[in-house]
């Protein structure tokens, strides 16, 4: 039977090559998929990967789509490298949008240059507060942060639903579950006139740069890497695990909260129940696609963002069903995980399994993924 055996030393080059391999395999499999659906695969690939980049509005929309992904993934990756699994960025994103947006609604219709910084602060604090719950439960009761943070995402989405159905509902909106449109001073400044590209893109770039600097130069960045690679060594060296866990959660929660606020005050301009569209979960893919490196995440976020925007273009031009695009995007994650496993394990054919053998892949391959 076919078994997976761990390789003694995964090839360093292959670890960095897998995202490219995964993208190439996705392209190939995607071509087959679209051809089977009776569409011209080359045109489909052109529409998905090239067409959006040929226009100014396409590039601006890419910035809009990639901004939350990059902001969130940058924060998550820091935690992932420490072995702190914040899976609940979706919830922190939602709460950030809620707290930040509520500031605008609370002072409506007042406004001024002071409003946006206040909203951003509220958004960051909201995201941090939501992330503090799993951090507290993990450090105090050793509760599994994967489950707690994940489940809290659903709580956050329901909380947003309750509030836009009630307290924050537009008084002139015929009971429709939406807040009123934010006053103009509560909207993020647009970077390129005539498009939706907003200042959040700058936040994302700054976050990437600062995180890169922090991980490479700061002692805490070093401690985070050690904790992830060798938890026992980290404890032996006297690193405070509690502080690192708290730090990772507050950082990733704060960035997710900021991303949420940027969505609410950016492209949407109000609070709506459909505000969370899965950025918090997609960002996990982005983080791994980018090998948990801030610069890799920048590239990964742009690539994933491109498949979303290009996927819409392909639906419009080729009348592809939405499900085909979703399958195409799903294949990227599948091929990434598959090639990651093959980098760390090698398939071996054994006629008879040994009764004591147990060398299945671990569910979370992060520690060896991190360079």
């Amino acid at each position: 039977m076919l078994r997976l055996e761990p390789r003694r030393a995964p090839s360093e080059a292959m670890i960095y090559a897998t995202p490219f391999v995964a993208v190439a395999l996705t392209l190939a499999a995607g071509c087959v998929l679209f051809a089977l659906l009776g569409r011209d695969p080359i045109q489909a690939m052109y529409l998905i990967f090239i067409k959006p980049l040929t226009t100014l509005s396409g590039r601006a929309e890419l910035a809009v789509k990639a901004t939350p992904l990059i902001l969130i993934a940058t924060g998550l990756a820091v935690g992932f490298r420490a072995g702190v699994w914040n899976i609940g960025a979706e919830g922190q994103f939602t709460v950030g949008a809620l707290t930040g947006g509520s500031v605008a609604l609370a002072v409506y219709p007042a406004g001024g240059p002071w409003l946006l910084p206040l909203m951003a602060l509220a958004g960051v604090i909201g995201g941090m507060a939501w992330a503090a719950i799993p951090a507290f439960l993990r450090t105090r009761f050793n509760a599994n942060e994967i489950l707690v943070s994940l489940m809290l995402s659903y709580v956050a989405v329901l909380l947003l639903g309750v509030l836009v159905h009630g307290l924050l509902r537009d008084p002139q909106g015929f009971n429709f579950p939406e807040s009123r449109l934010f006053q103009s001073s509560a909207l993020l400044p647009v970077l390129i006139p005539g498009t939706r590209a907003h200042i959040g893109a700058i936040f994302a770039l700054v976050a990437v740069a600062l995180t890169q600097l922090f991980m490479a130069r700061h002692i805490s960045g070093y401690q985070i890497k050690v904790l992830g690679l060798a938890p026992k060594a980290a404890r032996f060296a006297g690193f405070c695990e509690r502080r690192i866990i708290w730090g990772c959660f507050l950082l990733s929660g704060g960035l997710a909260g900021l991303a949420g606020l940027c969505e609410a005050a950016g492209p949407v301009g109000q609070l709506v129940p459909a505000l969370p569209v899965g950025y918090g979960f997609t960002a996990i893919i982005v983080a791994f696609l980018g090998r948990l490196h801030p610069l890799g995440i920048l590239a990964g976020g742009l690539l994933i963002g491109l498949t979303y925007i290009g996927g819409e273009a392909a639906q419009i031009a080729l009348r592809l069903p939405a499900a085909a695009i979703a399958i195409f995007q799903g294949m990227l994650l599948f091929f990434l995980l598959a090639s990651d496993i093959l980098v760390r394990f090698r398939p071996v054919w054994r006629p008879r399994p040994r009764p004591t053998a147990s060398s299945g892949p671990e569910p979370m391959p992060a520690t060896t993924l991190a360079p």
């Binding site: 292959m14 190439a24 690939m45 009971n175 939406e178 939706r196 819409e312 031009a317």
Partner: protein, 362 residues
Amino acid sequence: MKFTWGRRLAAAVMVMAAGAVITGAFAQAKKTKVAFVYVGPIGDHGWSYQHHQGLLQVQKELGDKVETTHIENVSEGPDAERVVDQLVQAGHEIIFTTSFGFMNPTLKVAERNPKIKFEHVSGFKRADNMATSNIRYYEGRYVAGIMAGKLSKSNTIGYIASFPIPEVVMGINAAYLGAKSVNPNVKFKVIWVSSWFDPGKEADAAKALADQGADVLFQHTDSPAPMKFAEERGILAVGQASNMAAFGPNAQITALVNNWGPYYVSRVKAAMDGTWKTGDVWGGLNSGMLNIAAYGKKVPADVAALADAARDKIAKGEFHPFTGPLKKQDGSEFLKAGEKIADKDLSGMNFYVEGIDGALPK
């Protein structure tokens, strides 16, 4: 390794780009480009499916004078505006956005593109180049309510509702008033699932209602899950948006079938010959935008006759489901004897009528 893959990728991309330029050059002919945005998958067999039927009718009747496209499963959040924008960029001249949550995104794009025509379904904001339309579902719900009131043995009718917006609230009220008109003992139980399309939640709600004694189910959600559940449980149900008889051959007593085709065709034609104007259409049984599906196997002739009579009276304008005397749930009067409700009060309805238990979610 990395570089070979990178190079191959680059080569592949170049080939693709070249191919697309070539294929694109041959697809030039002057057709009116029409686009539709759906909130759900076409396969919801309900709301979005019915809009897609409208698209197909446009395609069929206007043939090669139009080029249609659609994009499904568009969330009502930050993506909606980009999708509508992309449709504009792709050269579409008239764009239908078919869910309430697309209202503000559509309006934003409409303001930026005054020459493009927009048709939004179920909203209340309009512009010179953005018209709205909706269907008077409540008329059909009143008729189905009469049937449910007659057919319920437990006198308990279950109602799976989505969001407490006026359209849904008036639907519950209309169904209740219909049932009450033939069965004074009837009780309504309402479950809010906070979604337009969530087969799992809808089926759970259907089960909870049946467990509480409901033997006829209404739904104001878009999946056939409640109908399938009713079929399995051996109770009755009213289909929503589409004819759902295939999912409940025994269970479906009737269905409210949205028929967007004629309206969509007329609007596209108007856009083509330059007579398109903004406006607000709210069509009911008389307009053909709302149809009542053929009655199910378990509907006896006397109930069918009652339903037919009510349907015809409403269609001819002889009867309005919201005719006084009517009181709100709290006992206060809102329609005097003989008074018909005004459309503006109906389109902002945010209260239950007297007799319905429970509170609207706030």
